[in-house]
Amino acid sequence: MSTISIKNLRKTYGPYMAVDDLSFEIPEACVFGLLGPNGAGKTTTFKCMLGLARPTSGTVLYGGLPLVPATQQHIAYVPERSVLYDWMTVAEHVEMQRRAYAKFSVPKANELLRQFGIDQRKKTRALSKGMRTATMVALAIAREADILIFDEPTSGLDPINQRHVLNLIINESARGATVIFSSHQIGQVERAAERIAVVDRGRLALEGSVDDLKSDRKIVEAILPSETFALNGLAGDPRITRIDRNGRIVRALTSHDAQDVLARFEALGASGLRIVDLNLEDIFLCAVSPADATADVVEGR
C-alpha cells in the first residue's frame, strides 16, 4: 500500500482555518501518532485523508495516487465519536461489517469482542462509552485492513483495556499494517508510535521519529559568570531553538548536537553545565506553547 503523503493540505470552514498547509509523510507499516491540543485540526486531517472532507487545497496521496474507492476498501477508521447504531445489537454490527467488507473476519471480531468482555447480544445503546470505543476498535481490526486510522482509540477505556488496545495496534503493525492514531495520552503515543506529528492551530509544529526527537531535543543548562553576561552569537545558533534566561541561569532548547552547544557555553566561561533529557510530553509542550514553556518544563521535574 506504501507511503501516505499529505502535501500542503488546507481545509477551511467558512472563515475558520481548520488545517493550514500541513505536509508530512507516513511510511508503510509505521505506527504514526498525531498529537495536538483540542481543536488543533487532527480530526479534520483524518477526514481529509479518508475522503470524508474535501480539502480546500492540497492533496493526500496513497503510494503517490489520490484516494480512490478501491483504496478506501483497505482503510479502516475509528472516529472519535460513536458511529454505532443504538438500536442494533453488537452481533448485528458484526453481520453488517461482514456484508460490507470482503476481508472482514468474523472469527477475529468474535475473539476481539470476547477479549474486551463485550456481550454481542446487547444493543449498543446499553454499552458504556469505553465499550463502544472498544467495539469500534474490534470491528476495525477484524477488517484486516492495510491502513488503520484511529481517532482517540482509548478514550473512555480503563487502564487494562487501554493497554490492550495499544497491544492490538502493535500487533497490527507487526503484521505490516500502517496505523495512524491520535491520543491526548502522550504516554501511549510514546510507547506505541514510531513517528509523530504535532499539529497546533492547524499547522505542523513538529514531526519526526520519537527516538530521534528524544535523542536530539535537549535542554542545555548553564550558569553564566554574571547576570549581564552577553551571550555572543548564541541566539543565532541554528542548533538552538530557544534561549531562556533567569538571572545567571540560562537554558537553551536544542534541536540537535546538544554536546556541541554545551561546548560553546563552556568556551564562553559558563559553569554548572548539564544536558537535560526531555520526554515526549516536554517536547510536545515546547512545540505547542508560547515562549516561556521551556523554563516551566524543567522547573516541573
Binding site: 509505521c30 497491544n167 502493535i170 503493525s173 507487526a174 510507547r191 520519537v210 528524544k214 554548572g272 548539564r274
Partner: protein
C-alpha cells in the same frame, strides 16, 4: 528468556537505548547466557507494549555491537562464539556509560581533572580493597 526487561517510555532516554542497555546488562551479569534465545521482535514488542520497529532497531544495534546474533528464520541469540569476549564487551559498555556520566557531572560542577582523578582512585581503592 528468563529476564524480564522493563522500559520507562516516559523517560527522555529513547526506548531502543533502554532495551540495548538492559540486554547488555543481562549479558554482562550472565542472566542471559551465551547461546540463549531472545524473544522475537513481535513478542518483545507485545510484552513491553512498545513499537516493533523500536525493538528491531535495538536488536540491529546489539548485533552490530557483537552482543547477539540473528539466524534467519530461527531468531536472535546471545552470541556464543567467544562468549567470554561478548560478556566482557557488554560489561565494559555498561560501565563506560556510568563512569562517563559521573565524570561529566563532576566536571560540570567545577572539579578539575586532577581532582576527579584522585576521587576516582579513592573509589577504586575502596571497592577493590578486599582481595580481587
Amino acid at each position: 528468556m528468563p529476564v524480564v526487561l522493563t522500559v520507562d517510555p516516559r523517560s527522555g532516554v529513547p526506548i531502543y537505548l533502554q532495551v540495548i542497555d538492559q540486554i547488555k546488562r543481562s549479558v554482562a551479569l550472565g542472566v542471559l547466557a551465551a547461546g540463549e534465545q531472545l524473544p522475537t521482535v513481535k513478542q518483545l514488542a507485545l510484552d513491553l507494549t512498545i513499537n516493533p520497529n523500536t525493538v528491531a532497531k535495538a536488536y540491529r544495534e546489539l548485533e552490530r555491537d557483537g552482543v547477539i546474533e540473528t539466524a534467519p528464520g530461527r531468531g536472535s541469540f546471545v552470541r556464543s562464539n567467544g562468549s567470554i569476549e561478548t560478556t566482557k564487551t557488554a560489561a565494559t559498555d555498561v560501565a563506560r556509560d556510568a563512569i562517563e556520566a559521573a565524570i561529566r557531572e563532576a566536571k560540570s560542577i567545577g572539579l578539575l581533572a586532577d581532582e576527579i582523578r584522585s576521587l576516582t582512585s579513592a573509589a577504586i581503592e575502596k571497592w577493590f580493597r578486599e582481595g580481587a
